[in-house]
Subunit: 266 residues, 2 copies
């Protein structure tokens, strides 16, 4: 069916907008006030089912566009349609909407003429590597990078070239989407690349269900990487040559000239 | 003077703790509820003068440990001393405390025997590249890295090797601390490296005073890099080969199979 040219939004005399909202890792007190305010003010909220369940009170009285994984395009299009119909609409992502979230897809969809009039506003959130790092210490203290190991949309060679570059540059590296049981080939390649590039063992942080009730931090290393633990909610942070593990805390020195034996005179 | 072995904290029968709190970029509604709650509950707050001014209401009735830049070690030691004295103490950083903030230094200082008993808790915040990205679109949509160009504590060769690796891996790259007028040598090197590695011009995002009243977004590119604009509050994001600039928005495609000419049937 051909779409109407005059939308309800136009009739309402405001330009249609979709908010791409990052929810943070899942803990309510890491949801920003800005995100909460926007969600409260929206009439339609679209999201992946798991994320919609995080803060049920914020969904009360809203129209919900719910779908499973791999339905991202349909979900975002439905949200854009709702905005054209005059609804104040949010599409939620866990973490930050702009890091492996829905912000990019929404912007990309506005290249379709039908959606060109929709303004996409991005509301930032705390991404998994920041929340996970805080649990364990300060692994991201110096330069770091984020790589998704999911090969659904990016060719494996491109991902592995990035892993190689990260290892070569001695970056601390947060690996998103490390895989799941039976699909750990990319993770296995990554561990091998870091091992070969560093020429030595490096500390590794394995984080499960960051910000959720089953949150778990596991300090490990390249030589003892716990493949059997990895699942869809795992984030892996590979340390670099400056990473220290002391008293169960995982951190990188920033380089301040500290005298370690010094006592403080008071 | 030799320190007392029994501190007030011990006498109070709770273990001393210092919270490393990330304030986010500076907008009040991007300060997390967790950070706000912790700051309210603390009796001592330590920070760089500029950051202490961000949320003055949260400082009311607190003892303040204030110092300028380059006094990070003294400030953190003073905070650790306060914790040993029984004060509930926070050290604030802008952005995230674990990304170029004070979390790493505090953890490192607990290697000094006097501070070994102090528990360092990190409260995450929204770092500048996430807040800045949200202003401009979704530049960090795919893999990205963060590099500080400050050579105060890291040798220039190490920084430039990271820049080279980031360019080689076709990462989107957020450059923190790009320099200031008269000290832009590292920035100049970085632009040259990205230009040579890409073999073509790339979009560049120049962000000033993110989250503050003078917030400004400038879409530029490697060939027209606005050196004269760069100052201490600038963040630079270099796009990669997948970065698009469309209608003033800056984003990376995630790789979803979108039919661009498609119309949506309703």
């Amino acid at each position: 069916m051909k779409q109407k040219t005059e939308t309800k939004a136009a009739a309402f005399n405001h330009s249609p907008v979709v908010y791409a909202v990052g929810l943070g890792p899942g803990a309510r007190d890491l949801l920003t006030p800005r995100a909460e305010e926007i969600l409260k003010s929206c009439t339609v909220i679209a999201g992946y089912s798991t994320y919609l369940k995080l803060f049920p009170d914020l969904l009360e009285g809203k129209k919900i566009i719910e779908s499973g994984m791999t339905h991202e395009i349909d979900r975002c299009k439905a949200a854009l349609e709702a905005a054209l119909e005059g609804e104040k609409t949010a599409v939620i992502s866990s973490g930050d909407a702009g890091i492996y979230g829905m912000a990019g897809l929404l912007l990309e969809l506005t290249e379709i003429p039908r959606y060109a009039s929709v303004d996409i506003q991005i509301i930032p959130g705390i991404t998994a590597c920041i929340a996970g790092a805080a649990l364990a210490g300060a692994p991201l203290m110096n330069d770091f990078c984020c790589i998704s190991l999911s090969d659904l949309m990016i060719p494996q060679e491109k991902i592995l070239k990035r892993v190689q570059s990260a290892a070569c540059g001695d970056f601390v590296t947060a690996l998103y989407n490390p895989g799941r049981q039976g699909r750990l080939a990319m993770m296995t390649h990554a561990i091998r690349i870091f091992r070969e590039s560093a020429g030595k063992n490096l500390p590794v942080l394995v984080l499960h269900d960051i910000g959720r009730i089953n949150e778990l931090v596991h300090l490990s290393d390249l030589d003892h990487f716990p493949y059997s633990e990895i699942n869809m909610t795992t984030l892996v942070i590979i340390g670099n040559s400056d990473t220290l593990v002391r008293n169960g805390r995982f951190y990188c020195k920033r380089g301040y000239p500290i005298e370690k034996q010094e006592t403080f005179s008071v």
